[in-house]
C-alpha cells in the first residue's frame, strides 16, 4: 500500500465530526485563496469606514486571549510549581501552539501586503502597539513551537533534544508569561488610540490591564473547558479534581478584573455611558453573563466536584471574553448613522475554517502524539536536582560493585 493509500485509509477511519471539520477547513482554505485572487475589497465587507472586521476582531483580538491557556497553566504548573497540574500543561500548550499559529494565518490573510510582513522586523516603530504585538506573537509562537516539539520529540524518541527541551521547560514558561503579559495587554492598547471612536462603556486607559486580566482567567477557563470536553468526547481520564484547583484560582483574578473595570468605569471614562441603548445592552450581557454569573459559580463550593458546573462556568467566561473583544473591537466602534458592518461570506468561511482547523489539528495531534499520557517519570525537571539524582545513582551502583 502506498503512503497516500495509507493516509486515505487512516482518514476513512476518522469520526464523522472530524471529516466535517476537514470540509470546513477545506472551505476556509478555498475562501482565503479567493481573497488573494480578488482582493479584500471584493471578498470582504470591509471598507474605509470599517477597515477592521471579523478577521481582526476574532482571528486576532479574540483568538489570542483564547490561546492564553498555555501561559497561564504554565505559570501555575511550572512556576508556582503545582506539579499535580502538569497533565494539563501539554494540552494547553498544544492549544496555544495551534491558536497562535492560526492567529498568524489570520493576520496574514488580513494584511494587504502579507509578503511584506517581515518589514515589522526591518522597520521598528516602538510607538506602535501593532509592532509590539507582532513581535510578541512571533516570539511566543516560536516558544510555543519549541514547547510543542516536546511531545513530538518524545514520540520519536529524540533523546538529546528532549533533555534540552525538558531543561528549558521552566525558562520557557517564564518567558511565555512575560511575552504574553505584554501582548495580551497591548491588544487592549490598540484601542486606546480610538479615543473618539470606541464608546465610553469600553474605552478607558485601563483597557490593557483589563485585557490582560481577562486573558488570564479566560486562559484558565479554556483549560477547564478543553479538559472537560476531551474527557467527555475523547475518553481521556477525568481531570476534574485538577481543574478544581483552577476553579480556586480563577475567581480571584475575576474579582480583580471586576474591581479594575468598576473603578475605570466610575472614574476614568471620558464620555456618556448610557446614550446608546444597543451598546449598553451588549455591555450588560458581557458583564453579567460573561463575568458576574460565572464568578458566582466559581465561588461556590459545589464547583470543585461538579464537572458540569465547571464546564458551564468556563463556557460562560469564554463567551464573555468573546463578546468583550467584539464589543471593543467592533460593536463599540460603530458610529451612529454609519451603515453597520457585517462580515461577508468569504470572511465568515475563513474564520470558521480557522476554528475548524484548530479543533481538527488538536484532535489529530492528540491522536498521534503523547499529549495526555502522563510522563513516565513524575519528577521535577530542574537541573541541579537532576545532577544530584544522577551521581547519587552512581554511588549506588558503585556500592553494588563493592559489595
Amino acid at each position: 500500500m502506498t503512503a497516500a493509500k495509507l493516509v486515505l485509509n487512516e482518514i476513512k477511519g476518522y469520526h464523522r465530526f472530524l471529516k466535517f471539520m476537514m470540509v470546513l477547513v477545506g472551505l476556509g482554505a478555498l475562501a482565503s485563496l479567493v481573497r488573494f485572487i480578488f482582493g479584500l475589497g471584493v471578498t470582504t465587507n470591509l471598507n474605509d469606514t470599517y477597515p477592521w472586521g471579523l478577521w481582526i476582531s476574532f482571528d486576532v483580538v479574540t483568538a489570542v486571549p483564547l490561546a492564553a491557556g498555555a501561559f497561564t497553566i504554565g505559570i501555575v504548573a511550572h512556576i508556582f510549581h503545582i506539579k499535580k497540574l502538569e497533565p494539563l500543561v501539554r494540552p494547553a500548550i498544544v492549544t496555544g501552539f495551534l491558536g497562535y499559529s492560526l492567529v498568524c494565518v489570520g493576520l496574514l490573510l488580513d494584511l494587504g501586503q502579507p509578503q511584506r510582513g517581515i518589514n515589522v522586523l526591518r522597520y521598528w516603530n516602538i510607538h506602535s502597539p501593532m509592532f509590539e504585538v507582532s513581535m510578541c506573537v512571533m516570539a511566543y509562537t516560536t516558544v510555543l513551537t519549541l514547547e510543542f516539539l516536546h511531545p513530538v520529540a518524545e514520540k520519536f524518541g529524540w533523546h538529546l533534544p528532549l533533555r534540552l527541551l525538558r531543561t528549558l521547560e521552566l525558562p520557557f514558561a517564564i518567558l511565555a508569561a512575560m511575552i504574553s503579559t505584554l501582548h495580551q495587554s497591548t491588544l487592549g492598547t490598540f484601542f486606546l488610540i480610538a479615543v473618539d471612536k470606541l464608546h465610553a462603556l469600553w474605552y478607558n486607559p485601563l483597557l490593557p490591564l483589563q485585557f490582560w486580566l481577562s486573558a488570564i482567567f479566560t486562559g484558565l477557563s479554556i483549560v477547564i473547558f478543553e479538559a472537560s470536553l476531551v474527557h467527555k468526547y475523547m475518553g481521556q481520564p477525568d481531570e476534574s479534581d485538577l481543574l478544581a484547583t483552577l476553579t480556586r484560582i480563577i475567581p480571584w483574578v475575576m474579582a480583580l478584573y471586576l474591581g479594575v473595570k468598576a473603578y475605570a468605569l466610575a472614574f476614568l471614562t471620558h464620555g456618556p455611558l448610557f446614550d446608546r441603548p444597543v451598546l449598553l445592552a451588549l455591555f450588560l450581557v458581557e458583564i453579567c453573563a460573561g463575568v458576574l454569573i460565572p464568578f458566582g459559580m466559581f465561588i461556590t463550593k459545589k464547583i470543585k466536584s461538579d464537572k458540569r458546573m465547571q464546564l458551564r462556568a468556563a463556557s460562560l467566561v469564554i463567551f464573555g471574553l468573546v463578546l468583550n473583544r467584539f464589543n471593543v473591537s467592533m460593536f463599540g466602534m460603530e458610529q451612529p448613522g454609519n451603515l453597520i458592518y457585517a462580515p461577508s461570506l468569504i470572511e465568515s468561511l475563513v474564520t470558521i475554517g480557522i476554528i475548524a482547523a484548530h479543533i481538527l489539528f488538536f484532535v489529530l495531534i492528540a491522536k498521534y502524539f503523547p499529549i495526555f499520557e502522563h510522563h513516565p517519570e513524575t519528577v521535577d525537571y530542574s537541573i541541579p536536582d537532576r545532577m544530584h539524582r544522577i551521581d547519587d545513582g552512581r554511588k549506588r551502583v558503585g556500592g553494588e560493585l563493592e559489595a
Partner: protein, 286 residues
Amino acid sequence: MSSEKIDFTKTKTFLIDTTKCTGCRGCQVACKQWNQLQGEQTHFFSGEGYQNPPAMSEYTFTRIKFKDYQKHGQNEFAFYKEMCMHCNEPACASVCPVGAFQKTAEGPVIYDSKRCIGCRFCMMACPFGVPKYEWSKAFPLVRKCTGCYSRIKEGMKPACATACPTAIAYGPRDEMLKEAEKRLKAKPERYYPAIYGKNEAGGTSVLYLTHQPLDELGFKPVTQRPLPSYTWQALRFVPGIFLTVGGTLSAVSWFQQRKDRIRAEEEGRTASGHHHGKDEKKENSL
C-alpha cells in the same frame, strides 16, 4: 515617528477660511490632476448641495463638503475642504508597525508605500478618517493627501492651495495662527470663535475658520490631546512590565523549586540512609 524634534511653529500649514470658500472645487480637481487620481463614477449628488464624490477615497484625497440648510429662515450654504490634517503628532504615524507614516519637518505627513504591510491600523487610528485603502486591488496600499510634499520640497505651494482663488492661505504654522486670530478679532460677527486644528488632536497643519458653528458643518469633535500619547501612556511601561514579570516569576519559581527540592532531598536522604544500613548488615554478615 520622528515628530519629536520638529518645530511646530514653522511647519507649513494650511489656513482654510470657509467664510471665503466659494465652493468652486478648483482645489478638488487640482489635487486629482497633480496626483493623477482617476475620476470617480458618481450619480446625481452624494450629499447636500452639489457635493461629490460621496467620500474621500483611494481616488480622492480632498473633497469639498457642501452644507445646504436653513437657520431661522435664513439660507446657509457652506463649503469646506476635507483633507489630511497633517497632525503635529499623527496617530497614523504612531500606530504604524513599520513606521510607514512620518511627520516631516516641512509639515506634511508623508507615507512610504514600500514599508506598508497593509494592516490598516492607521485607518483605525486617524481621528479624522483620512487614510483610505486601495480596496480595488488584490494587494492594497493606503492612500491619502500627501501634503504635496514633492511640491513643497521644490518651494512650491500645494496644488490645491495654488488653485484656490480665495480661501486657502499657506505658510508657517505660527504665522497662519496669527493670521487666523487676526481675522477672528477683526470680524467677530463673521466668524465662529474657534480655530479648528489649533488644538485638535494636539494641533494640526490644517487650520479652519468658519462662520457656522463647527458641529453644523460636520467638523468632528476630537480630543485636544495628541493621540499617540493615549497609547504611549500604556506602551511606555512595556519594558518595565516585561522585566518585572520576568523577575517576579523567576523569583517565585526559584523559591517554589527550592521548597520542593528541600522536601525532595529530605525524602531522598532518609531513603538512602536506610539503604546503607542494609549494606552494613550485609558486611557484618561476611
